[in-house]
């Protein structure tokens, strides 16, 4: 035992659970071995702090069960509200702000007077985004009526 280091024994079990003969062997070895003496002292202090740590427990307050039951009822109340309503509750502000933005855009588009468009721009408007989207001008080439109206409009303008 004297030749064998004792750290393995110290780490295998708490120092307080070792038998008196084991402790005597450890002490005998620690007397001659400086590094094991340090390890033994550290293990002894570790056991002391661990014991103190476990001693400091916190007791529940007399109202703790009331607090738990209140939290439980609150949780049940939340769970009893239908999912769609809960979703509405959280999305309400987002939906209402979107509705306001849409209404504002509608007012800007229809209620305000549109600026006067020059005749030349009107002719070009045959290629406007609306007409393309609505399929009124699907072809890349201008139709006969469009060519004619463009020529005569230009002549009249002159």
């Amino acid at each position: 035992m004297k030749e064998k280091h004792i750290t393995e024994i110290l780490d295998n079990a708490s120092i307080v659970s070792l038998s008196e003969s084991e402790l005597n062997e450890i002490r005998a070895h620690a007397e001659d071995c400086v590094s094991c003496r340090g390890a033994y002292e550290a293990a002894r202090l570790s056991a002391v702090v661990i014991r103190s740590r476990v001693k400091s427990t916190i007791e529940p307050s007399p109202f703790f069960h009331t607090r738990v039951m209140a939290a439980l009822r609150e949780q049940q109340a939340v769970e009893s509200v239908p999912a769609m309503l809960r979703l509405w509750g959280s999305a309400k502000s987002l939906v209402s702000s979107m509705a306001v933005a849409t209404a504002a855009l509608a007012v800007l588009s229809f209620a305000l007077p549109s600026p006067a468009i020059p005749a030349s721009d009107q002719a070009v408007s045959a290629y406007s985004a609306e007409s393309v989207l609505l399929g009124q001008a699907n072809d890349d080439q201008m139709s006969y009526e469009q060519v004619m109206s463009t020529i005569y409009d230009d002549d009249e303008a002159k």
């Binding site: 110290l10 659970s17 002391v48 661990i50 740590r53 476990v54 703790f64 439980l72």
Partner: protein, 199 residues
């Protein structure tokens, strides 16, 4: 009877569940105190344990005790909370408070003296807490239960749901790390003391 109480609670009897909370909150607090030292954190964890227990009442089959069942829920809940918390990477001598320094100084003199003052216990508990904070929460628990509460390997395995060999490995590893950290602290302190004497 425990089983009757559990059956009533399972059937939706709130007063039966309230009685469970009242009867077992000291046990749940004692488990949570192993993980946390601030009252607010312990209370919060204990409340979470009971809310979880209420939703899992159906899983209690009555084969074991309510206390064992709640201890397991409490241990796992607290471990989950701790896993989310940031762990210290190291604890060095410069992190010691004045009280902890003094406590370490007095230790060789108080060797064998089991009667310790309340204040001394608090300082030691603080020191343990800070030294343990560098270990994974699972290792801390294994060590606190076995070395602190004299729990058997089997009892820890039952409370945590780990295998017995896992418990042994965790306790061994935690004990060694704690001893090494303590050794380092003592070495630094001795070094500092020697320097002061030379001056």
């Amino acid at each position: 009877m425990d089983i009757d109480l559990a059956r009533q609670a399972q059937a939706g009897d709130e007063s039966a569940f309230e009685e469970i909370v009242r009867r077992y909150s000291p046990r749940v607090f004692s488990v949570a105190s192993r993980f946390f030292r601030q009252r607010s954190l312990v209370e919060e964890a204990a409340q979470e344990v009971f809310l979880k227990a209420y939703t899992q009442l159906g899983s209690f089959e009555g084969r074991g005790s309510i206390e064992g069942w709640l201890t397991r829920i409490a241990t796992n809940t607290c471990l989950n909370i701790l896993r989310g918390a940031k762990r210290r990477s190291e604890f060095s001598v410069s992190d010691l408070t004045e009280d902890e320094n003094q406590w370490l100084e007095q230790q060789p003199a108080s060797q064998g003296n089991e009667e310790r003052s309340f204040v001394s216990d608090l300082v030691a508990a603080d020191l343990a807490d800070r030294l343990l904070s560098v270990l994974p929460p699972e290792d801390q628990q294994a060590l606190l239960m076995i070395d602190g509460e004299d729990a058997s390997i089997r009892e820890v395995a039952e409370a945590t749901g780990w295998s017995e060999s896992k418990v042994k490995v965790r306790a061994f590893r935690a004990r060694r790390k704690l001893r090494e950290a303590m050794e380092k602290l003592l070495r630094h302190k001795d070094g500092a003391r020697e320097k002061q004497v030379i001056k």
